[in-house]
């Protein structure tokens, strides 16, 4: 039985096809048509809604794309849509601000923007162009050119009014807690489709042993596309978002451990703290909505050759803790990928967590994402470097690229050309040449093979320039 709050009303849903998205539920089942479908693929943000989750005694408000969120993931959460913001006849401050700043033209993207603004406002973020770009890159507007919306966001953020959601917080927390106290696997069944949402790792292992063909669902940002774009029906889904052990982040002196159900948003602070250069990637990868839903482990697990995190994890020497039944094993991320979309994952096995060793002395880590559009775009190439230079000599070189082969792949020739060499222009130029031996990229709509290789080589040059003169800005993305 699925239980969640739709604004302040408790919904219990028994029979519903687990393939139904939150968007379809809203528009077709409860006739809330304020939330719009623009793409049904998580790329435009017209369907943005906000989900509030328990965080101790507080609530954490997150914007998500309703179009790629399976209904079953709502269990124990509060779903807030654009219809819920106006209260006692008064517009919510974020709505008022959009009106006053002329932030809507055709109005179709507006409910999504309003909901992203609402989350932004509830999270009390300081409205600078950087924070705004980060939080709104997943909301496309084709009419305004964004200026008026940026004004509206800046204007609203100065408003310190407490809204009805704050006033009702205790009530909401109490209700969500009472749902959460029922610590059992939630199941949904309809039309011959099944959905399981276990709460502990043992139950998850067991379910996967019983149903080895089940699709694992974490953020759903990829799996949902099979449903909405591929028109497939997923017969059996196991949702890992409530499995306590998989929601943990641990940090000690030597490493970070990120549970498989941890979203980008949840782990980005700890990742950036340890690897500051990840900040740019983690603000450009997907959008705020996608980062609120998507998981690091999901980005690894589905073995997409164009995923951005695998090259990063490969050069950071990250490992995967894999579990099957009661057995666990540890595997290098580099060894996880075998061929296009084929991984080392065995039947009934799943990723439990990702283990990332902390940076060692003299290690320089950088990652460069090259894409057609700055924000919310899939990389033409994503180049990650982790090079250890001791007394001017390259002691260790790890280089991995995404978008350059049928799997995320290390640049072994390039690495070899650097190892034990003096870190200078000549070495670097030679290593750039060697990189051509590592990859035979394809041409597609994102980029030509020629550009992919050239720009990857130039990423190494950029890395060199960045190390050479740290004061200079050498990234257009950071230029202000």
């Amino acid at each position: 039985m699925l239980k969640f709050l739709l604004n302040d009303s408790l919904q219990t849903v028994n029979k519903i096809d687990p393939n139904i998205s939150v968007l379809e539920y809203l528009r077709e089942h409860v006739f809330r048509t304020g939330t719009k479908e623009g793409c049904a693929s998580g790329d435009c943000g017209a369907c943005t809604v906000v989900v509030a989750e328990l965080l101790g005694e507080a609530l954490c408000y997150q914007s998500i794309n309703a179009c790629i969120t399976p209904i079953g993931t709502l269990h124990g959460k509060q779903l807030i849509t654009v219809e819920d913001l106006k209260y006692q006849g008064q517009l919510h401050p974020v709505q008022q601000s959009m009106v006053e700043c002329h932030g809507s033209q055709c109005g179709f993207c507006t409910p999504g923007f309003v909901m992203s603004m609402f989350a932004f406002y509830k999270n009390n973020l300081k409205a600078t162009r950087e924070t705004i770009n980060e939080a709104f890159s997943g909301n496309l507007c084709r009419c305004t050119g964004y200026s008026s919306i940026i004004n509206a966001i800046q204007h609203a953020s100065h408003d310190s009014l407490s809204d009805q959601f704050s006033k009702k917080q205790q009530q909401t927390v109490a209700c969500l807690k009472s749902i959460g106290e029922e610590k059992n696997t939630v199941t949904l069944q309809a039309n011959g489709k099944q959905f399981f949402s276990p709460v502990c790792i043992n139950d998850l292992s067991l379910l996967l042993e019983i149903y080895p063909n089940a699709r694992l669902l974490a953020g759903g940002t990829d799996l949902s596309l099979d449903i909405t774009q591929g028109l497939q029906d997923v017969d059996l889904m196991i949702y890992i978002g409530r499995v306590d052990e998989l929601l943990q982040i641990n940090e000690d002196d030597s490493c970070l451990e990120i549970g498989a159900a941890v979203s980008y948003s949840q782990c980005s602070d700890v990742l950036v703290k340890n690897f500051p250069d990840l900040l740019e990637l983690l603000t450009r990868l997907g959008s705020r909505q996608i980062r609120n839903q998507g998981t690091l482990a999901g980005n690894v697990a589905n073995a997409s050759p164009i995923a951005d995190m695998p090259p990063v994890l490969m050069v950071l020497n990250a490992k995967l803790s894999l579990r099957c039944g009661q057995n666990t094993r540890v595997l290098n991320v580099s060894d996880y990928y075998q061929s296009y979309k084929v991984t080392a994952l065995q039947r009934s096995e799943f990723i439990e967590k990702i283990i990332i060793p902390k940076a060692r002395k003299n290690e320089e880590f950088r990652v460069y994402k090259i894409s057609k559009r700055l924000d919310d775009d899939i990389s033409s190439t994503c180049a990650a470097f982790n090079i250890q230079i001791v007394n001017g000599v390259v002691e260790n070189a790890l280089i991995a690229l995404g978008g350059m082969a049928d799997i995320p792949k290390r640049a072994r020739h390039c690495e070899q050309a650097l190892l034990q060499q003096a870190w200078n222009e000549k070495t670097m130029t030679n290593a750039m040449r060697e990189m051509a031996k590592d990859f035979k990229p394809i041409s597609d709509f994102r980029a030509s093979a020629q550009y992919r290789l050239l720009v990857s080589q130039h990423c190494l040059r950029r890395f060199f320039l960045e190390l050479e003169s740290r004061a200079d800005q050498v990234r257009v993305t950071r230029y202000a």
Binding site: T33, G34, T35, K36, G38, C39, A40, S41, C44, T81, V82, E83, Q95, M98, V99, E100, H102, S104, Q105, C106, G107, F108, C109, T110, P111, V114, R129, I132, N133, S137, L140, C141, R142, T144, G145, Y146, S147, I149, Q229, L231, I370, S371, K372, R373, L374, D375, D377, S380, F445, R446, A447, Y451, V455, L465, Q473, V474, R475, V476, Y479, A480
Partner: protein, 781 residues
């Protein structure tokens, strides 16, 4: 009615919301609350069916077999529709034939609708539509403009505009430039896609809800495909979630198919296209190939041009004739050509039929000449801005007539550009950029100021007409209806302001209701930036008719001169008598004065003789200019637009904030067209960039950090437009040409501005890097 509502007595309250004020969009509060209803949000009849289309999976060929048995057998499917089921006329080409509502035995583009299906749910209809078993006899498709040009594969005959002997002028000029430029197309990507709902009526007719810029054409075509009279079909269109030209003719097919499925099943049917199918099955902005040959003197003054504009029209004419004409009309942009030969080819490609898109060919025509201006400047070693200024149309030296014979009567551009040049610190920044570029190895900056002169009017003369209907009720409230459609541009707001101004009553008094073909018939599309010019005038006319009746009545009733009857501050004052507007309406009603009127407007002066390629196709020109500054990373080709300054001529603005929104939005949309929005087809004619994951329109981060927009002050339209305003929908899109020019400026800096970079559009980071590499290689042979 026997009794009237109580109304307030006369009280002088200053009128709120007349013309010239920055009122919020009439639906703003509904937008932000989700209460604004779009076609897919409307309450549906209980027995509604959902329609979907089966699309072709080749670009060109004959259909050998179309087995729909699995489609029919799919759970939930109620019926399927093939071309044989169409009772009436099945070609829905808007001007010329060529657009069958479903493929007629042969496939003409990848993603062409072959059949339609009606089912009890959207999902069932969509899934079923994918189950057809199709066999084709494929023919190799023509995908590129070059292939089509070579084979003289055209959808319409070519057209040429000529002045003097261009060839001779070019041959005799001191300098000559030849080249070509490939300009990419653009997907409209309105956030709301195509959607229509047809509801049967008791007269064997249809009540049609459709997201359309042209309800009257939808109405006519639905009547034609059903084989019924036009009066049986009523279209209701409250608002679109964006249009941009993509719902001018391209909305019709889904309206017709919904009506045909409705006709066949006897039930209401709604069709809504999923994004990826929408992107494959509907037309886009035309890609163009421009070839040019230009002669100019040592000062950079053009002496002759020979420009050939070839558009990829897709598989049918649609609106391509007018679109290529408009490209030709704008091949000069703001510059005088002493001798010119402008040729336009309408190349047929075996791709979806390209259609209207904000600017309607104008942007492509302009891009060519703006690139030429920059190139001339580099040849004669001058600042491109000086070359532009030198070539502007002007009143002196007989340099005020276009190559198609229209005299420029209101010279705005030179003063406007001077103003922007100073306000944007163009010269100082140009010097700073040169210094920056000399000092930086990796980063290069570029700057460009480009003007826009855009002709306002439909080039099809008869479309320049509009109707409106105004009712005044007995409580003094006013209902307004006109033939224009609201797609976000603020048309309803502006026209309501115009009507409120006529009666001098608060804007809240006026309600603009959905566009309906049974209220205002035979309307033109809301397109060509003409919405307010045409419908505003028609509504003003309707209001004036009622007002004159009221004045006439008041003069008689109160025995005063007509001149002594005044509408002011929500009151009607007749001599010593002072009534609230609502009191006065009641009085007029009781004295049997008609409080309802239609209004009609047609644009004066315009004509174009296509045989002679001469005329005055435009009532007036809208003008503007922009300065863009960019930063380019020479390692990767990535770039950032750092600052944009715009000065734009909207005449006397009816609503400055709405106009500003059009300018900002148009600019960013134009920037997307020229930078990141890349449409790519494979060699089989399949669109590869058919969703927002692969087709990238600008996001918020692409809006420049410094974005100064000014409406040119004190510049009323010298023509008698509504309150002397100017059209604003399309022209600002072309201000974004400054971004492309600035990118080329930055790229050419690596050759110390000596070499003209080749930079086709969209100028993706890849193309920019390619251009940089090409210059570097030429520099070091």
């Amino acid at each position: 009615m026997r009794s009237l509502v109580d109304v307030s007595a006369a009280q002088k309250t200053p009128m709120k919301g007349g013309e010239g004020q920055s009122l919020k969009h009439e639906s703003a509060e509904k937008h932000v609350t989700g209460e604004a209803l779009y076609t897919d949000d409307l309450v549906t009849p209980a027995n509604i069916l959902h329609g979907y289309v089966g699309l072709s999976t080749i670009a060109r060929g004959l259909i050998k077999k179309m087995d729909l048995s699995q489609v029919k057998a799919f759970p939930g499917v109620v019926d399927v529709l093939t071309l044989d089921d169409v009772p009436g006329h099945y070609d829905i080409g808007p001007v010329y034939p060529g657009d069958p509502v479903l493929a007629d035995g042969e496939v003409q583009f990848w993603g062409q609708p072959l059949f339609a299906v009606a089912a009890t749910s959207y999902k069932a209809a969509r899934k079923a539509a994918s189950l057809a078993v199709l066999e084709y006899e494929p023919i190799k498709p023509v995908v590129s403009i070059e292939e089509g040009l070579q084979a003289k594969y055209f959808v319409r005959p070519s057209h040429t505009q000529k002045r003097g002997d261009a060839r001779k002028a070019i041959d005799e000029a001191a300098h000559r430039l030849q080249g070509e430029l490939h300009i990419g197309g653009q997907e409209h990507f309105s956030l709301e896609g195509q959607v229509s709902m047809a509801v049967p009526t008791e007269d064997d007719g249809v009540l049609l809800y459709t997201s359309s810029q042209h309800p009257s054409e939808g109405q006519k075509l639905v009547a034609q495909v059903l084989g019924i009279a036009i009066n049986r079909v009523t279209v209701d269109m409250r608002r679109m979630g964006g249009g941009f030209g993509g719902k001018e003719t391209n909305a019709n097919q889904w309206a017709c198919l919904a009506a045909l499925l409705m006709h066949k099943t006897g039930r209401a049917v709604k069709i809504r296209l999923a994004r990826s199918d929408d992107m494959c099955a509907t037309g886009k902005r035309h890609p163009f190939l421009i070839r040019y040959d230009v002669g100019f003197n040592q000062q950079g003054l053009i002496e002759g041009v020979d420009i050939t504009l070839s558009a990829a029209c897709g598989m049918s004419p649609d609106l391509s004739d007018a679109i290529v004409d408009r490209a030709m009309f704008h091949a000069d942009n703001a510059y005088f050509f002493p001798a010119a030969c402008i040729t336009g080819h309408r190349v047929k490609t075996d791709t979806v039929s390209n259609t209207a898109f904000r600017g309607f060919g104008g942007p492509q025509g302009m891009l060519g000449i703006e690139g030429i201006m920059d190139d001339i400047a580099r040849v004669v070693n001058k600042d491109p801005l000086d070359i532009r200024k030198r070539n502007f149309y002007s009143d002196s030296g007989k340099r005020n007539m276009t190559h198609y014979g229209q005299t420029i009567e209101h010279m705005v551009i030179a003063d406007l550009v001077d103003r922007l040049e100073h306000q944007s610190d163009y010269r100082v920044r140009r010097e700073q950029i040169k210094q920056f570029n000399a000092a930086n190895k990796v980063f290069k900056k570029g700057i460009a100021l480009t003007p826009v002169k855009f002709g306002i009017s439909f080039t099809a003369q008869h479309l320049n007409q509009a109707g409106a209907l105004v009712h005044v009720y007995t409580d003094g409230s006013i209902q307004l209806n006109h033939g224009g459609t609201e797609m976000g541009q603020g048309l309803f707001t502006k026209v309501a302001q115009i009507v409120a101004t006529q009666f001098q009553v608060d804007i809240d008094t006026v309600l603009c209701t959905s566009t309906r073909t049974d209220k205002v018939p035979n309307t033109s599309p809301t397109a060509a930036s003409s919405g307010t010019d045409l419908n505003g005038m028609a509504a003003k006319e309707a209001a004036t008719t009622i007002k004159l009746r009221m004045i006439n009545f008041a003069a008689t009733h109160f025995s005063v001169e007509q001149d002594d009857v005044n509408f002011i501050d929500n009151q009607v004052i007749a001599g010593d008598h002072c009534l609230s507007f609502s009191q006065f309406c009641q009085l007029a009603y009781l004295h049997r004065v008609s409080l309802s009127a239609t209004g009609f407007y047609r644009t004066p002066k315009i004509y174009y003789d296509r045989e002679k390629a001469q005329g005055q196709p435009f009532f007036y020109f809208a003008n503007g200019a922009a300065v863009s500054e960019v930063l380019v990373d020479t390692l990767t080709g990535e770039y950032k637009v750092l600052r944009v300054d715009i000065c734009h001529d909207v005449g006397q603005s009816i609503n400055p904030m709405i106009d500003r929104g059009q300018i900002e939005g148009g600019f960013i949309q134009g920037m997307g067209w020229l930078t990141t929005e890349e449409l790519l087809w494979d060699k089989h004619g399949k669109l590869l960039t058919n969703n927002p994951a692969s087709y990238k329109i600008p996001t918020m981060a692409d809006t420049p950090a410094i974005f100064n927009v000014e409406l040119l002050p004190n510049s009323p339209n010298t023509e008698a437009t509504v309150f002397h305003s100017k059209a604003v929908g399309e022209p600002p899109l072309m201000l974004a040409i400054s971004v492309w020019s600035a990118l080329r400026d930055a790229v050419s800096s690596v050759s110390n501005y000596q070499i003209n970079p080749l930079l086709d559009t969209p100028a993706t980071p890849e193309r920019v890097l390619h251009a940089l590499q090409a210059l570097k290689e030429r520099r070091t042979p």
